[in-house]
C-alpha cells in the first residue's frame, strides 16, 4: 500500500493526514513533495497526522527528519500527531522522540502552536 496524503486547515494550522507506508521510493517522495508544496504556499505551521501510517522504514524516518528541518529552516514548526505504537517505538529507539514535538490529541496539538 502506497502513501496517501490530504491536507486541511484548522485554525491556521495545516494538518497533513497521511495513510499507508512511508518507505524508500514512492512513499518518501509523496511526503517530500507534499511538504515542499505546503511550504511553497507560505504555510509554515504543519501538523503531521500519522494515525493511519502503518509502516515507516529508515528512509521514511529520514524523510520525517528532512521535513522537520525544512520547516524549521523556514521559521516554521512541524509537529507529529497520533503515532501508532510501531512508529512511536521507532522514534524512541532512534532517539527522535525527543527531537519531534509529538501530540496525541488534535485539539491540544492545534492549540499548542504559537499564535
Amino acid at each position: 500500500m502506497s502513501l496517501k496524503s490530504s491536507t486541511r486547515s484548522v485554525e491556521g494550522i495545516t494538518v497533513l493526514d497521511l495513510s499507508g507506508r512511508i518507505t524508500l521510493g514512492e512513499g518518501s517522495v509523496v511526503l517530500r513533495d507534499t511538504i515542499r508544496e505546503i511550504l511553497g504556499k507560505g504555510e509554515k505551521k504543519i501538523l503531521l497526522n500519522l494515525g493511519d501510517v502503518t509502516y515507516i522504514d529508515s528512509s521514511g524516518i529520514g524523510e520525517l527528519v528532512s521535513a522537520f528541518t525544512a520547516v524549521r529552516k523556514e521559521g516554521g514548526d512541524l509537529k507529529l500527531l497520533n503515532l501508532t505504537k510501531k512508529v512511536h517505538d521507532l522514534l524512541q529507539i532512534t532517539k527522535l522522540y525527543t527531537v519531534f514535538d509529538v501530540k496525541d490529541d488534535e485539539t491540544a496539538a492545534i492549540s499548542s502552536y504559537a499564535k
Binding site: 522504514d57 529520514g62 524523510e63 527528519v65 521507532l90 532512534t94
Partner: protein
C-alpha cells in the same frame, strides 16, 4: 529459485521491486514459523533495511549486479542472508545514528535498526560485496502459545 526442505534462495535484480519481494517472502515465512505480531514487524523491517542496503548502497541499482537472498527456517528460528555485489561495507565506517551530531541526519539508521530488532546479525565484507545474515528466534512464551 532453489528450494530445499527448509531453505529457499533467490537471485534478484537490484530494484525496489526486489526489496518488496524480499520483505514479503520474509513475512510469509515468519508467519509460518509462528512469530508474534511485534516480531513480524521487526523481522520484515530488518529484512527490508538489509535489502535496501544491498540494492541501493551495495549494488547502487546497477542492472548488471544481482542480490542473492536465502531464507532458512526451522520450527523456532528464521535466518535470512542477503548478499550483494557492491564495493563492500565496513561496520566500523557506519556512524552512530544516536550520536548528538547525527540525530538530524536523514540516513544511516538501517544497520542500527537491524541490530536493534534481530537476535543475531552477522556482516561479512566479501571484497567485493557484502553478506549480511539476520537471525530471529521465537521466544519461549510464543512457542508455548503456539503449542496450546
Amino acid at each position: 529459485m532453489v528450494t530445499m526442505a527448509n531453505r529457499v534462495a533467490y537471485t534478484l535484480d537490484s530494484t525496489l521491486d526486489s526489496v518488496n519481494k524480499v520483505e514479503q517472502t520474509a513475512e510469509q515465512l515468519a508467519v509460518k514459523v509462528g512469530f508474534s505480531e511485534d516480531d513480524l514487524h521487526k523481522i520484515t523491517m530488518s529484512v527490508r533495511e538489509a535489502a535496501v542496503n544491498a540494492v541501493l548502497h551495495g549494488n547502487a541499482y546497477d542492472p548488471s549486479k544481482k542480490i542473492m537472498v536465502a531464507y532458512e527456517s526451522s520450527p523456532n528460528t528464521l535466518a535470512i542472508t542477503i548478499t550483494d555485489e557492491g564495493k563492500g561495507l565496513s561496520e566500523d565506517e557506519v556512524p552512530d545514528p544516536l550520536a548528538e551530531e547525527n540525530l538530524l541526519k536523514t540516513s544511516g539508521r538501517g544497520i542500527f535498526l537491524i541490530k536493534s530488532f534481530m537476535d543475531e546479525v552477522r556482516i561479512r565484507d566479501l571484497h567485493p560485496g557484502t553478506e549480511i545474515t539476520l537471525v530471529k528466534h521465537v521466544h519461549s512464551s510464543e512457542t508455548d502459545a503456539k503449542e496450546q
